[in-house]
């Protein structure tokens, strides 16, 4: 396989997701996996109070978006992510980029770049 498969993992605030997803579709990214996660980093912790008892919480709600690309340039995805997900404040999250060994489509058995294509 000559093609390079790249996995992009974006961990960020659970805001503006639908808009971000629409922008990704414009640059050719249509498939992704999204999960709700908790994370902690530079952002300050917050305080919950129940019947006067304070509870300091350092884990914040975040979403994790996993994307695998081959034809679409990785830098395009990163640019869109930074443009739409940056608020300028600590806690915006991180983008992790990995090189993948292979991809297998469960239904068709196709591998590599072919497995990512949407043909039926």
């Amino acid at each position: 396989m000559s093609e390079i498969l790249t996995k992009i993992e974006i961990i960020t605030r659970p805001i503006q997701f639908e808009q971000f997803k629409a922008e990704l579709a414009k640059i050719g990214v249509s498939g992704m996996t999204v999960s709700e996660v908790k994370g902690t980093g530079l952002q300050k912790s917050y305080v919950e109070t129940y019947r006067g008892r304070n509870r300091e919480m350092s884990l914040h709600d975040r979403m994790k978006i996993e994307i695998v690309v081959c034809e679409v340039p990785v830098q395009d995805v990163v640019d869109v992510a930074r443009k739409f997900l940056s608020t300028g404040k600590p806690g915006d999250g991180k983008i992790f980029i990995y090189e993948l060994a292979n991809v297998v489509n469960i239904r068709t058995g196709k591998e590599g770049h072919d497995a990512l294509k949407n043909d039926i």
């Binding site: 129940y50 019947r51 006067g52 008892r53 304070n54 509870r55």
Partner: protein, 404 residues
């Protein structure tokens, strides 16, 4: 017999009935999601167990003629308790009065569940509810309402400050201390406050039946009770939120619901004997003093009254009993008495005797009953069950499922 009173008392009985599922939801929302079903079951099961116990023997021990400490056995199995009016009201069927009181007996036990949440064994709690209802609720109800020694002494408890709230609060506290702290008590947080809000609202709704129904008829006293109950609950919210805001700079929904219940608890013994203006004061102080109980006293003394059965019902009930001795006036109810602010010290003294006697008796008998059960069934669940959650380990079901 009178149809209007009977219909009114039927409605009041149904309203008080609703408070018990209300307590189950109120408590259920405040625990972790792995314990919500167990907590709700603890408050729901008295509807099954105590209802039957009440018909078999509980009602007779509480209300039938006996001595000054306990009722007799004349009405066991509802013998002579039928459609004809009984000694407590000439205008409603005796069986209706019995059912109205049944909802009180059930509710009282279900309140206790707040103290023991997230760590008591289901079987041990079930056995406890039966024994406690016989050995604690029945005598205390008899003392106050069945012609026992507190009634003879002349203490005032219109709708059950001693009988329902102090007794359940103190029992919850004693059990909480005997069980010890929850493993995760420092990290506990309500998993579903909207559920608590729904439950708390049902409790408030039912409370109108609880207090107004305690008049057993619709007369001037009953309507004064209705007004007093409404304004005391409102004032309780304000009292709680003011102190909470001063302490934490936040006004919370859980605080508002808790404040309403604190105000309702506080007005319960007083509602038939005080003016609406006094009720507002009783409610505001009730909300404030209950917040102090759960915020300061609980931390200071270090007991794990998980959902504040004592914090709301014990402390609120105690304040309500004292407040009755301060604010009661015969101008609203001739069969009442004048409190300290109306020039008579005697009532306050009697109220204090009633409160202290209830504390001592309830604490002692609760302790003995729980110790006795512990000989046969351990009161507390195993550490492993506690960390896995009681819904799954004790009941084999989960409240919330992930899709996988």
């Amino acid at each position: 017999m009178q149809m209007a009173d009977s219909v009114f008392m039927f409605l009041a009985t149904m309203m008080v009935w609703l408070m018990t599922p209300g307590i189950a939801l109120f408590y259920g929302g405040m625990v972790k999601s792995k314990n919500v079903l167990n907590t709700a079951m603890h408050s729901y099961m008295p509807l099954a167990v105590i209802s039957i116990l009440w018909v078999l023997i509980g009602y007779s021990l509480s209300f039938s003629p006996g001595n000054s400490l306990l009722g007799g056995l004349d009405w066991v199995g509802l013998k002579d308790v039928g459609f004809a009016p009984g000694p407590y009201s000439e205008t409603i069927p005796h069986s209706l009065f019995m059912l109205f009181q049944m909802t009180f007996a059930v509710l009282t036990v279900s309140i206790i569940a707040g103290g023991i949440a997230e760590r008591m064994k289901f079987s041990a709690f079930l056995i406890f509810t039966i024994l406690w209802s016989l050995f604690v609720y029945a005598p205390v109800a008899h003392w106050v309402w069945g012609g026992g020694w507190l009634a003879e002494l002349g203490t005032l408890d219109f709708a059950g400050g001693n009988v329902v709230h102090i007794s359940s609060g103190v029992a919850g506290l004693v059990l909480a201390i005997m069980l010890g702290k929850r493993k995760e008590s420092g990290d506990s947080a309500p998993h579903n406050l909207p559920l608590t809000f729904l439950g708390g609202s049902l409790i408030w709704f039912g409370w109108y039946g609880f207090n107004v129904g305690s008049a057993l008829t619709i007369n001037e006293v009953a309507m004064n009770v209705f007004v007093n109950t409404a304004v005391a609950a409102a004032a309780g919210i304000i009292g709680w939120l003011i102190v909470e805001y001063m302490a934490n700079k936040k006004a919370t929904l859980l605080g508002a619901v808790s404040g309403a219940i604190s105000g309702l608890v506080a007005i319960t013994p007083a509602c038939g004997f005080v003016t609406p203006a006094s009720s507002i004061i009783i409610g505001v102080i009730g909300g404030a003093v209950c917040f102090w109980g759960v915020f300061f006293l609980k931390n200071k003394l270090g007991y794990d009254d998980a959902l504040d059965a004592f914090g709301l019902h014990g402390i609120g009930g105690t304040w309500g009993g004292i407040a009755t001795g301060l604010f009661a006036t015969t101008s609203v109810n001739e069969s009442g008495a004048n409190g300290l602010f109306y020039g008579d010290f005697n009532l306050l003294w009697k109220q204090l005797v009633a409160i202290i006697a209830t504390y001592i008796f309830v604490a002692a008998v609760t302790y003995i009953v729980a110790k006795a059960i512990n000989l046969f069934v351990p009161l507390r669940v195993s550490e492993e069950d506690e960390s896995m959650g009681l819904d799954l380990t004790l009941h084999g079901e989960k409240a919330y499922h992930e899709s996988i």
